[in-house]
Symmetry: C2
Subunit: 222 residues, 2 copies
């Protein structure tokens, strides 16, 4: 079914053009007209694939989320088997920060989309569901890590999840050069080290494990 593939490819080409517009000029410029120009195709052709600007934005946002998920999955696949929950959370959190070009594109897209959501009910529901889903994933990992003794049983899973997600608050500091990428990674590691201080579990979790891995994969992330 080559036609089907073409259709998907064409939509992705348009979505990537939209990302570039958002990254370089801001979401205010993400009109069908400017995106068509950036993609090097006609205005009518874009309209053939997306009936409205909103539809185009939604597809571009979904594609950005997929891309982030794929990066996380790739990062996790490089960890041990089973991966340590500290390392999984570290991959998830650092891939949400604008620390490399691909992550910068998806991070800007998602920041712009959150702001759009405040004034558009359809986008609101979509972004909210995406955020809530991501939050659930993190809370699941935290709960399992508590059960497995990697995180102390005195920790509240919901609050720890919210605190982990606040690490995305490093984004504006990194984007505007107020702190260096390495400072952001130090903060993430410090936060994770304090979370994973439970008594060593059956697999030897807790503070020991995290300090042992410290100079390894983490140092290489830079």
């Amino acid at each position: 079914m080559p036609k089907q593939v073409d259709h998907r490819e064409r939509r992705e080409t348009i979505a990537r053009a939209l990302w570039r517009v958002v990254e370089q000029r801001g979401i205010a410029h993400a009109s069908v007209r400017e995106v068509a120009q950036e993609a090097g195709i006609s205005h009518g052709a874009v309209q053939h694939y997306f009936a409205t600007r909103e539809e185009m934005l939604a597809f571009a946002m979904d594609l950005a989320s997929e891309r982030t998920s794929r990066r996380v999955a790739e990062g996790v696949s490089e960890l041990g088997d089973p991966p340590h929950p500290r390392d999984v959370l570290r991959v998830m959190l650092t891939e949400m920060l604008p620390l490399h070009p691909d992550a910068r594109v998806t991070s800007r897209m998602s920041a712009a989309y959150v702001l759009e959501a405040l004034h558009d009910a359809t986008i609101h529901a979509r972004v909210r569901d995406g955020l809530a889903h991501g939050r659930d994933l993190v809370e699941g990992i935290v709960r399992q890590a508590i059960d497995d003794g990697h995180i102390g049983p005195d920790r509240d899973p919901a609050t720890e999840t919210n605190l982990l997600l606040t690490l995305t608050g490093l984004t504006p500091l990194i984007e505007l050069g107020v702190i260096e990428p390495q400072d952001a990674l130090t903060a993430v590691d410090q936060h994770l080290d304090r979370l994973f201080t439970g008594p060593p579990g059956p697999e030897g979790g807790g503070a020991h494990r995290s300090s042992v891995t410290s100079p390894g994969p983490r140092g290489g992330t830079r």
Copy 2:
């Protein structure tokens, strides 16, 4: 000099109209035309006070920052004398979160401005300087608190400052209703409780002080 006062008042009226546009419709709508309409004055009159859209945005942003600073100053003035650094940081951090209408306006304005900064060199320098200044203020408080024994001497002031500022990462979760305002405050307090766990200083700082104040002013912030 009534003329001078009028001038300032008129500019503030326009800036507040711009805030409403940004809050309700998004910064893409913050054009001279739409702001004039929202303010109920003529397009030409707005141009009399602001030569360009950028000038209007910059003034509105500065006014939003002043307003946040004033709220922080008011909050701090209600604390003990001298105020405990934990309480000062709590006021600063919670006033940056969209937990009440006035803070929501300034928070949205500042999120939109950060995104604009990515595509405009002048705004970039301005927002960067503002963020760096705020970061310096927080780091100064953290360093003093370490010196005074409220925070453990083993803590790194720069990393602790970055971690405190990440708490603004709660903003999208609150804005989109993924977590409740009370959950955000719980996370902020949990973070501060863990930071202020140094041995009690000469004024009796550390964990003891923070848990004693817990049910008081904090409970009332809701």
